[in-house]
Symmetry: C2
């Protein structure tokens, strides 16, 4: 049996079994959510790690090194945001072939530093090793919001309840659009899509505002809305209906790929917006709080579905209520043919 | 300019400059020591990350996968021990070619789990990605000892003072001996050297006991005693004399390579013992405390040198007081010809 036969999630299951039940009482959230959470003194640490491999997670020669640095950190920030926390400290590991031009490394550092400064993160250490291919690994820790009950208030994948609405924090599909124009050699015509793909803006604001408003279920969209909502369904043992015609689509994506935009918004990865579930009133309160925070007078949360009883998983419905089959299955990094 | 021209330490300097001065007041120790330290609530987190690349840090086909898992975690534990802290939570990133046999991954997990259990560490998460070569990256956090002054009590590279003795926590060179017998095809004749190389035992005990006794300067031996003592000298702006005839040498190394054993003990990497500097009385107290802790009635600390005034750096002296030139310069991972 080879690694490709199990896929990423199969391997994670196997690791979990090998490790057995974690010892001690400090661990609040272990393997299986967007990030881990444990008690640190009188606070709670959120921790995650995410790797980008050249040729797998970014296209060599097509993406600026500066953007590789930004995105490597941003992907991790999104995992902390997905738990409702605030990022704080990063460790950065670079695997570099000895003949890597130093200007590439400098550009990567610059993008990383820019992202760190934007989000108030301190890069506190790391490791640099020789390797055959370029890999950037970031480990990021942050702080959970602690309630008056002295417990961490988090967004969990496992907290969706029947009757919840499902909302997303912004238009989707632009990152998938950017990847597509890069692959089709159309980057020059669609710079904003490329920008969305190369320099995502994780939603720390929406995560913390959601938690403070009382939302308890959420995750970030890294594999694609449909697939990530599926993770929530499995972790919460619920069914979700996703209404294809309600998914907000990035305007530039609609212009570039009008026929495919809806399905790309539903299934395309790396949007780094958040999915939040909760009752309609709480979600409306989050929308209002986000509008105030961003000083914007239009909707900041978009209801795209509903949590229901029934067979665990996501059902995508069109405007007539008919079930839609999206063949795209999102990113499972270890299966052949997967590209990101 | 290529990465190989700068080397690991040159690249780290460059990253530090790109990042500028870290914001905020939570960071206690940033880039440049064995691990980073920051405030977490009313405690202090120690954090480090360390990567092993197949063919660079371990020899494919010559080292058991189980041992790769053990050592990937152990190298990180040693960095936490080198700060005087106790390891607690790990994130594990695996880069795997899709055709990796799952039994290799299972064996690596088993070794990792064994090391985690031995040291009381919880593996709380990680990432698994597709890549062309196998890489195991661990990010490890731990807790610093907090004094009655509510400050973290740490072992720092920068705390050596003129007049300090330099001590090490055990016989050295066995790991370098193990690497050498593996390369020379003599593994079967020297299983204990291979074991020392493949399954190091980091010295969390010595680090915490040292800190509690009042030691403030230390680091772990990963690049080799002479080179690592050089890091202490540069960080502390001091000179150190290293007495070649006082360096404790692993018995099996002496048997295997009698002619080279002393220089291998002085320069060979990955021993994962600690260097501690301090006044003779404090070091003697640490030795006594370690003997009690381990229930062993022979010396646990070995004085191998002295911190002096003079040109910053390490001078190695033989029994006659003559200076010795060890050509081996330890591990600088990005220079050509470096193998570990």
């Amino acid at each position: 049996v080879e690694v490709r036969d199990l896929g990423e999630f199969g391997l994670i299951d196997r690791l979990q079994k090998a490790l057995g039940r974690p010892p001690g009482d400090r661990l609040v959230v272990g393997i299986g959510d967007d990030a881990a959470v444990w008690r640190s003194g009188d606070g709670f640490t959120i921790a995650t790690t995410d790797t980008m491999v050249e040729g797998v997670h970014f296209l060599p020669g097509k993406v600026a090194w500066k953007d590789v640095g930004w995105k490597a950190l941003a992907a991790n920030i999104s995992d902390v945001a997905a738990m409702g926390g605030t990022p704080a400290f990063a460790l950065v590991t670079l695997c570099l072939p000895p003949d890597t031009p130093v200007e590439h490394v400098d550009a990567m550092y610059a993008g990383l530093a820019e992202c760190a400064e934007t989000y108030g993160i301190t890069v506190a250490g790391g490791d640099i090793v020789s390797a055959r291919e370029i890999t950037v690994t970031v480990a990021l820790t942050g702080d959970a919001i602690v309630g008056p009950d002295r417990k961490p208030h988090l967004l969990r994948r496992s907290a969706a309840r029947v009757g919840d609405d499902v909302a997303v924090t912004g238009p989707l599909g632009a990152s998938a659009g950017g990847l597509r124009v890069l692959k089709e050699g159309l980057a020059a015509q669609h710079p904003s899509l490329v920008e969305s793909h190369a320099r995502p803006w994780p939603r720390v604001d929406a995560g913390t505002i959601g938690v403070r408003a009382g939302i308890t279920c959420g995750m970030d969209i890294s594999d694609g809305l449909a697939q990530d909502l599926g993770h929530i369904c499995r972790a919460s043992s619920v069914r979700a209906e996703l209404y294809l015609d309600r998914i907000p689509i990035d305007n530039n994506l609609t212009l570039a790929y009008p026929a495919d935009a809806a399905s790309m918004a539903a299934a395309g990865g790396e949007d780094y917006e958040l999915i939040l579930t909760g009752d309609a009133a709480t979600l409306a309160a989050v929308d209002q709080a986000l509008r105030r925070h961003l000083d914007l007078d239009f909707p900041q949360l978009h209801t795209v579905g509903r949590i229901t009883t029934g067979h665990v998983g996501v059902v995508i419905l069109d405007a007539t209520g008919a079930e839609v089959d999206l063949t795209s299955r999102g990113w499972d990094h270890l299966r052949p043919g997967s590209h990101s």
